[in-house]
Amino acid sequence: MSGKDKFLHNDYLGLIVRLFIGIVFIYASIDKIVAPAQFARIIYNYHILPGNLINLLAIVLPWIEIICGILLIAGIYKEGSILIINAMVLVFIIAISINLYRGINLECGCFSVSSKAKESAVELLLRDIGLLILCIYAWFNRSRRFDLVKSKA
């Protein structure tokens, strides 16, 4: 293994990154699962989705987040969950960018559905880009050592 591969496919670094992302997504999902109506309102305020899809997303998205988080930590269907998580983070980045461009500061709906939780769009964007970098690392990391179910992807 070259030095680059050692870093990219490191068992422990892979595990730490995976645990971190998993915990972030589980934590992020809980408030939304508990209060879907508030989360729907936050999605509406992004003014991106057509009205009839808003509630459906508010119902389903938190469950995708929590299940991906759990699977990622456990190392079951890890490849599939990291694909979904990468896609989600990309979508979050696009959604925040659109509203940054529009000059609107809005409730993120990232970790909390309370309307007190208002961060600047630039901060949110930087946070999500940081998360995306970790997710991309997890995507390329091929360590299987700590997977409960070792798939061959």
Binding site: I59, I64, E79, E107
Partner: protein, 164 residues
């Protein structure tokens, strides 16, 4: 890659089914298709979820624009000064609700009979409602809240000012 996609599809389907079951069974369930006001309709009046009886009346973009034409109407921007400084409705004054105590003098210099249209960012923001309530309590009699706010105004390309 194929395995990744197959797994992702299975996870998504599983999560969707689970989410639907939980939403049907849960006490905090919401309808699968919500009734969200379209923001493109300029004659529809957006009303905040926390609006209560006795609140000042809410006006649509069309009505706000009509009142804007009448010289006796003062527009008040309830957003923070940084947001106001970026751009605001032309000739609107800034009274940030979150820092209202610093703007008390300016507020009190407005005659009680003045017709007012109060706005903030848009439907994610309730500063206009809070400021409207406060001014109603002070004794202002002609308050209108334009809840569609800056977002609708800007989208419609109506007159705006940049800077303070």
């Amino acid at each position: 890659m194929l395995i990744r996609i197959r797994q992702a599809v299975i996870i998504t389907l599983f999560a969707t089914v689970l989410a639907i079951i939980v939403n049907i069974a849960s006490g905090s369930r919401i309808p699968f298709v919500g009734d969200w006001p379209s923001i493109s309709g300029s004659d529809s009046v957006a009303v905040p979820p926390s609006a209560a009886e006795g609140d000042p009346p809410f006006v649509s973009l069309d009505e706000a624009a009509a009142r804007y034409q009448s010289p006796g109407t003062l527009f008040i921007d309830a957003r923070d000064t940084e947001d106001y400084a970026v751009a605001h409705i032309r000739n609107a004054i800034n009274i940030p609700y979150d820092y209202i105590d610093d703007f008390r003098d300016q507020l009190m210099s407005i005659p009680l009979k003045q017709e007012l249209v109060i706005y903030c960012s848009g439907t994610e923001c309730e500063l206009s409602l809070f400021l409207g309530r406060e001014m109603q309590d002070i004794g202002y009699q002609k308050i209108f809240i334009f809840y569609g706010g800056w977002r609708e105004w800007e989208r419609a390309g109506l007159p705006m000012d940049k800077g303070i």
